[in-house]
């Protein structure tokens, strides 16, 4: 399902297996627990890199699991939407820089998971970003839009991402300002690039609590939506 490894200063969170890494209550709980673990083991200079195996970073919520409940499908959808919020909150709150290394496709909540990281690297050769909701006829939770608005500046880019139903490849995603890089071919290439970035960030030996506090104050609206209090003290803690 997912694993957490430590490589020097770097925490590597991997969505394992060749499947679509869909978010299901169990995977969500798993990811949350690993993020908790990273948080509790964090020191100055810690950095998180999240990646996956196979063709998908994550293809979103487990719709099949929801549908298998028949009449209870909507209830299950609501449950997943609700229980996913803490994952975003945990990433926003994580006392270390976070980097998503997209090995493959990121769709819907899988894309939101990626965008919740401070830096997002995609592959140049494969993988798309895709807000599938518009094609499946599902509305987008308010905190998803808040995340897009917080991380993506241009009106055009927001439209392409949230409304167009387009499958955005790496270069286009960079041009739209949605991801930071799509310069590398292959999953290994992307991971290597993120490790390199991670190591340069780790070398700064930043205080993780301060880092998280500053990060949250960058996105006050989003923090409100995911029930995080941004640590906006009026005074410096000198």
């Amino acid at each position: 399902m997912c694993t957490l490894e430590k490589r020097g200063d770097l925490f590597l969170l991997t969505l394992t297996g060749e499947d679509e890494h869909r978010f299901h209550p169990d995977t969500i709980a798993s990811v949350l627990s690993l993020l908790e673990q990273a948080k509790s083991q964090s020191t100055k200079g810690s950095v998180l890199i999240t990646t996956g195996h196979g063709k998908f970073f994550s293809n979103g919520f487990d719709l099949a699991w929801a549908q298998s409940a028949g009449h209870g499908a909507i209830e299950r959808m609501h449950q997943m939407v609700k229980s996913f919020k803490p994952v975003l909150a945990a990433l926003l709150d994580l006392p270390m820089p976070t980097i998503a290394a997209l090995n493959g496709h990121a769709a819907a909540s899988g894309l939101m998971f990626a965008l919740s990281h401070d830096y997002v690297f995609m592959r140049k050769d494969r993988g798309v970003l895709y807000m599938s909701e518009v094609d499946i006829g599902l509305p987008v939770p308010d905190y998803f839009s808040a995340l897009v608005v917080a991380k993506v500046g241009s009106g055009i880019a927001r439209r392409e991402l949230l409304l167009s139903g387009k499958k955005l490849k790496g270069e286009e995603a960079v041009a739209l300002g949605i991801v930071d890089s799509a310069a590398h071919d292959s999953a290994e290439g992307v991971v290597e690039a993120t490790v390199s970035l991670g190591e340069s960030l780790a070398a700064k030996k930043w205080n993780g609590e301060v880092y998280a506090s500053i990060r949250k104050s960058l996105y006050p609206e989003l923090c409100r939506m995911v029930n995080l209090t941004a640590n906006n003290l009026a005074t410096h803690n000198l």
């Binding site: 500046g153 960058l218 906006n232 003290l233 000198l238």
Partner: protein
């Protein structure tokens, strides 16, 4: 401390001396009283303010050494800078920062609180240093950053990597209006820009009110959400 020169309709406010122009209570009081002087000048609503500095620094931020001796001074400095920025935002004339040296943390916020930011490209950088020195960034600083830097990636780079932003990079990020080859050329360009703005004409009072509306989000933090009639509060020369 600081000096004020009048050149035609241009007010040139300078942080004087070769030091770091740390924003301690004395300098902040001096700046505020000079801004008040400018505001009450008869020609103010047809003028332009240029803020610049001597030496290697525009301003290296709050006087942290002072705050270490007395923690209540950090609250005081923050409060005084907030009032100064609120004064700049309500000032009935366009404002230009001619950044001829390093501008860090609170010093960077001061520079960005001007309508136009011109900077030398041969030396100096903008630097939101807080992350590097383990300081939390106040909410009102973040409001200035959000209002003045449009791209989420640029905001992240500035505040979450403590980037040292040189003028040309600043232009690309949309923080700086233009980059110039030296300190003297930066000031010259600011003067030229100021004169062009004055030529265009217009009523400074209206300008000031419009700016207040545009930067409302910052004012909400600097004055407080309960205050209505923001410009009324400002013009009474409130002793905040």
């Amino acid at each position: 401390m600081c000096s004020l020169e009048k050149r035609g309709r241009l007010f040139i406010l300078k942080l004087t001396g070769d030091g770091e122009h740390r924003l301690n209570p004395t300098l902040l009081d001096s700046l505020r009283s000079t801004i008040n002087q400018i505001r009450s000048d008869q020609s103010s609503s047809q003028s332009v303010l240029i803020t610049t500095s001597d030496g290697k620094f525009f301003s290296n931020g709050y006087d942290l050494a002072l705050a270490e001796t007395n923690p209540s001074l950090s609250v005081l400095m923050d409060s005084k800078l907030r009032s100064l920025v609120a004064d700049l935002i309500s000032l009935p004339m366009p404002t230009i920062a001619a950044v001829t040296g390093h501008a860090s943390a609170a010093g960077c916020i001061l520079a960005m609180s001007h309508d136009y930011v011109l900077m030398r490209r041969d030396r100096g950088f903008l630097y939101m240093s807080e992350l590097d020195i383990e300081l939390i960034v106040p909410a009102w600083f973040m409001a200035v950053i959000r209002m003045k830097i449009g791209s989420p990636a640029a905001r992240r780079d500035v505040i979450l990597t403590a980037a040292k932003v040189t003028a040309d990079v600043g232009v690309k990020m949309g923080i700086i209006d233009s980059a110039h080859d030296s300190a003297a050329e930066t000031v010259e360009a600011a003067v030229k820009l100021g004169e062009e703005i004055i030529q265009r004409g217009g009523d400074g009072h209206v300008y000031g009110k419009r700016r207040e509306t545009l930067l409302r989000e910052v004012l909400v933090h600097t004055i407080g959400e309960d205050e209505s009639g923001l410009s009324v509060v400002r013009n009474t020369g409130s002793k905040l």
